[in-house]
């Protein structure tokens, strides 16, 4: 039963995918006392279970099919949990529950809270909140005090206190000299310095990818060069300092090229990409659901008709609760079948959704290892921050609960091998931040996820554990879902 830490769990007959140990086999896994006791061929693991039962222990056996996947619990290097200070958007507890539902057992939370995680006191505060959470929450501390870009934080003490990395996320480190100092000063801590690459002079008030679509919609453009200009600078600073640099949420093809070259040259660089940049495009802002997650349902005849008439009912509650457009034929421009309303604030994210060609390049970077891992950039917002005009809406997508289902589209479309996807969610992020996570090795902490890769489900933000219902995937059918999450030997989600 959920919450019973003492009960051994015996997962029988699933497909065990553990990239950290180069394992991909049909077999069993048994968890005892919070650690992985045995994993491998059914016969060997069964012996452990029988021994436990013989000694009078109750063992919870979970029978799986060979289709179902047993993998290490996912590791997210980039999540916004909003606490302390912004609890209307999310709390550590609600964010952790959302993570558990999404299969994540370790998440790193960004420091753009109020107050900013920029001194030991706030790190301890977040750790105290995290101690009550369903899964493991690790704080990232700010690079500069109050993320103001002017003075370094006490990085050494922050690392001692438990900060796993440094970032001014949401705000780029604009001053090259400051980033140089940060990369240098952080060297003895061994912790990576993360930058959100956005040249403020090029991006300005940009709200969507700069191009013909933004021009047509009359929205301010956020150009690709706004990212690559700063990333190129950062990589030169990493070269200069020998620092440990991690590039947050790459979104454009040019960034993949830059990181690829930097890695070839031996720089100590890692990079992440989000599910939405891999799978969506800027056309979603214009109401066109193009790409692998285009809604498969054909539009109904009533929706297709000449709907010059408004429906009688205005369902404000729905539009507010899930960030999706109300479902009348008249109200959105589009109507089912790959089209939805334009200016949907749920598609507003930073960096913005790019072109399908960029998404292709990002997938390529993930395939060849240029991009190490997938991070959600989970950015929950309250309804009021999204129930407004596109210009005024907050940037961000609530991503923890849809990540796996969305990403499985890459596997189903044979664009990404399952093992690479699992690695990008487990062993690779763990390695990037040197975290003790992302493996099913015997004797290791029992962070395990069970996935039904074929289960179809329609995203309904009203059912989210996250307080952030802001997702462009509302109403989109996904294939693949997490059915069980075990964190430290404890079942934290089962569905």
């Amino acid at each position: 039963m959920p919450g019973d830490v003492t009960l051994p769990i015996w997962l029988r007959g699933g497909r065990i995918v553990d990239p950290a140990n180069d394992v991909d086999l049909i077999g069993d896994l048994i968890v005892v006392d919070g650690t992985i006791r045995a994993v491998g061929k059914a016969a060997e693991v069964a012996a452990h279970a029988r021994a436990l039962e013989a000694s009078g222990q109750t063992v919870r056996a979970v029978d799986l099919t060979e289709e179902q996947i047993v993998a290490p619990g996912f590791v997210d290097l980039h999540a916004h949990l909003r606490e302390p200070g912004l609890e209307l958007r999310e709390t550590v507890q609600s964010g952790a529950r959302a993570a558990a539902r999404g299969g994540f057992t370790t998440i790193c939370c960004m420091p753009n809270t109020q107050p900013v995680i920029d001194d030991r006191g706030v790190v301890e505060w977040v750790k105290a909140l995290a101690a009550e959470a369903a899964i493991r929450v690790l704080p990232i501390a700010a690079i500069t005090r109050d993320q103001a870009g002017a003075a370094l934080t006490e990085m050494a003490e922050l690392a001692e206190a438990g900060a796993v990395a440094f970032s001014d996320d949401g705000k780029p480190v604009k001053n090259a000299g400051m980033l140089r100092l940060a990369l240098t000063y952080a060297l003895p801590t061994g912790k990576p310095v993360i930058n959100h690459c956005e040249d403020p002079d090029l991006v300005g008030q940009g709200v969507m990818h700069a191009g013909a679509l933004a021009t047509r919609l009359g929205l301010r453009g956020w150009p690709a060069a706004g990212e690559t200009v700063m990333l190129a600078r950062d990589l030169e600073l990493a070269r200069m300092t020998g620092g440990r640099y991690h590039a947050a949420h790459l979104s454009v093809a040019g960034s993949v090229d830059l990181v690829r070259r930097a890695k070839e040259q031996g720089l100590r660089v890692t990079a992440e990409v989000t599910p939405h940049h891999l799978l969506l495009s800027h056309a979603w802002v214009a109401g066109d659901r193009e790409g692998l997650l285009a809604a498969p349902h054909p539009p109904s005849s009533t929706e297709r008709g000449r709907s010059t008439f408004k429906a009688d009912r205005v369902d404000l509650g729905r539009s507010l609760s899930d960030g999706s457009p109300p479902l009348h034929p008249q109200m959105g421009r589009g109507s089912g079948g790959g089209a939805t309303s334009r200016y949907n604030t749920a598609t507003k994210v930073n960096p913005p959704l790019r072109t399908l060609a960029d998404a292709e390049a990002l997938i390529g970077g993930l395939l060849d290892g240029t991009i190490d891992c997938i991070a959600t950039d989970h950015a929950p917002h309250s309804a009021v921050e999204k129930a407004c005009c596109f210009d005024e809406a907050a940037f961000g997508i609530s991503g923890l609960e849809t990540a796996l289902g969305a990403l499985m589209a890459l596997v189903h479309a044979e664009r990404l091998p399952l093992k690479r996807l699992i690695a990008a969610l487990t062993s690779a992020p763990a390695r990037a931040f040197a975290l003790d996570a992302g493996t099913l090795g015997e004797g290791r902490r029992a962070d395990v996820v069970v996935i039904d890769p074929h289960a179809r489900w329609v995203v309904d933000p009203a059912t989210f554990a996250s307080q952030g219902r802001n997702t462009p995937l509302a109403g989109v059918e996904l294939q693949g879902r997490v059915t069980m999450t075990i964190c430290g030997g404890k079942i934290v989600f089962e569905g």
Partner: protein, 372 residues
């Protein structure tokens, strides 16, 4: 109320629909000004692109055209119509405006509507009320139509999802200003006749212009070609791909643009653009893109349009703005007529023929199959 409809932009409007709206504007204007003959003509043309005033107009029973005399124009003097009697129109403006707001108000009043005007300054908006709450509040008062001007692109389209009233876009950010484009089209039609094959130059700060964007859709739907002309910093190359199946082209050379042009529309150059670094100086702008008598000397009859307000001496010289070729005041006058037509249509009281061009959007984007 079930037949209310929104005017958010002209992106999927057919040429026939726009022509229908312009016809309706002329007919309402004539009727309002007391020219009864045209209305009687309309009566005969019920099967051709035209309007069915007599079937929907609440006051039609008492109107003199029932007498049936179509011979010559009878002038009965300006009068208020009953088309929107008993219906409320609210104008909600988050930006300053003279022409647009007043002409919507006059148009609504000419149709017999009750009109309430609200501006962001001096209202609950200054207390921090969101657009959503403001729209819901106004909508709860039961207006037939809300006319919205807002600095954010997409505001009208977004707000339309939140209310029962018909939403008429009076300008949203850089995105659309559909009634301006309709009044421009009406002015051009009066000046040039059928717009098919005509070449219209839109000049100036294209990037930040909702007027330019709406005219790209409207004028090309009517068969004209649009030449966008302006400095490179205010006319990004992205415009070349923004209207893929429309006759829109770009040039950075005004003299080149003027060759073969049938009309020129100068846009307002906002002085804020200087602060944004888009231009080195107003002097240099005027030198390359100003409509001066010297530059226009070779085109003595070229009609000149401007949506206002003008910066005389920058994008347009006073001699041009107020010269014989200027149709700028004509635009203002047509604004009232066009907005009468739009309000009557949006309220669902009067119809225009065939609003949508079949498959307009489908041709552009296969995955979109919708009408409004």
């Amino acid at each position: 109320m079930s037949d209310r409809r929104n005017l958010l932009d002209l992106e999927d409007w057919s040429g026939d629909a726009i022509t229908g709206m312009l016809d309706l504007a002329e007919q309402l204007r004539d009727q309002q000004q007391g020219h009864m003959s045209r209305q009687a003509d309309t009566h005969h043309q019920a099967d051709t692109p035209g309007v069915e005033l007599e079937t929907h107009c609440p006051g039609s029973e008492e109107e003199p055209h029932q007498a049936g005399s179509a011979a010559g124009a009878e002038f009965a003097g300006p009068q208020k119509l009953d088309v929107l009697r008993g219906q409320a129109v609210i104008t909600l403006f988050y930006e300053n405006s003279t022409r647009t707001r007043i002409s919507f108000e006059l148009a609504a009043k000419a149709l017999g509507a009750d009109v309430a005007n609200m501006t962001a300054t001096g209202s609950s908006v200054e207390k921090g009320e969101s657009l959503l709450d403001t729209i819901k509040t106004l909508d709860a008062m039961g207006p037939a139509i809300i006319v919205l001007r807002h600095p954010a692109s997409g505001a009208a389209e977004t707000a339309a999802r939140w209310c029962r009233a018909a939403m008429v876009n009076a300008g949203d950010g850089w995105h659309a200003h559909p009634t301006q484009a309709l009044l421009d089209a009406l002015t051009l039609r009066e000046t040039l006749g059928d717009l098919a094959g005509k070449r219209i130059v839109i000049l100036g700060d294209i990037q930040h212009s909702r007027v330019a964007r709406s005219n790209c859709w409207a004028l090309t739907a009517l068969g004209a070609s649009v030449v966008l002309c302006g400095p490179t910093t205010l006319l990004p190359q992205s415009f070349a791909a923004a209207y893929p199946d429309r006759a829109v082209s770009l040039t950075y050379d005004l003299d080149h643009a003027l060759e073969g042009a049938d009309a020129v529309m100068a846009l307002r150059l906002q002085k804020e653009r200087m602060a944004g670094g888009f231009l080195p100086s107003l002097r240099e702008y005027r030198r390359h893109y100003g409509l001066t008598p010297e530059r226009l000397a070779a085109y003595p009859s070229l009609p000149i349009l401007h949506p206002g307000p003008m910066n005389e001496g920058i994008e347009i010289d006073p001699a041009v703005a107020h010269g014989p070729r200027s149709v700028i005041e004509r635009q203002v006058a047509n604004g009232v007529a066009v907005r009468m037509a739009v309000l009557a249509w949006a309220a669902g009281v009067l119809d225009i023929p065939e609003k949508m061009k079949d498959g307009t959007r489908k041709a552009r984007k296969a995955s979109e199959g919708h009408g409004r």
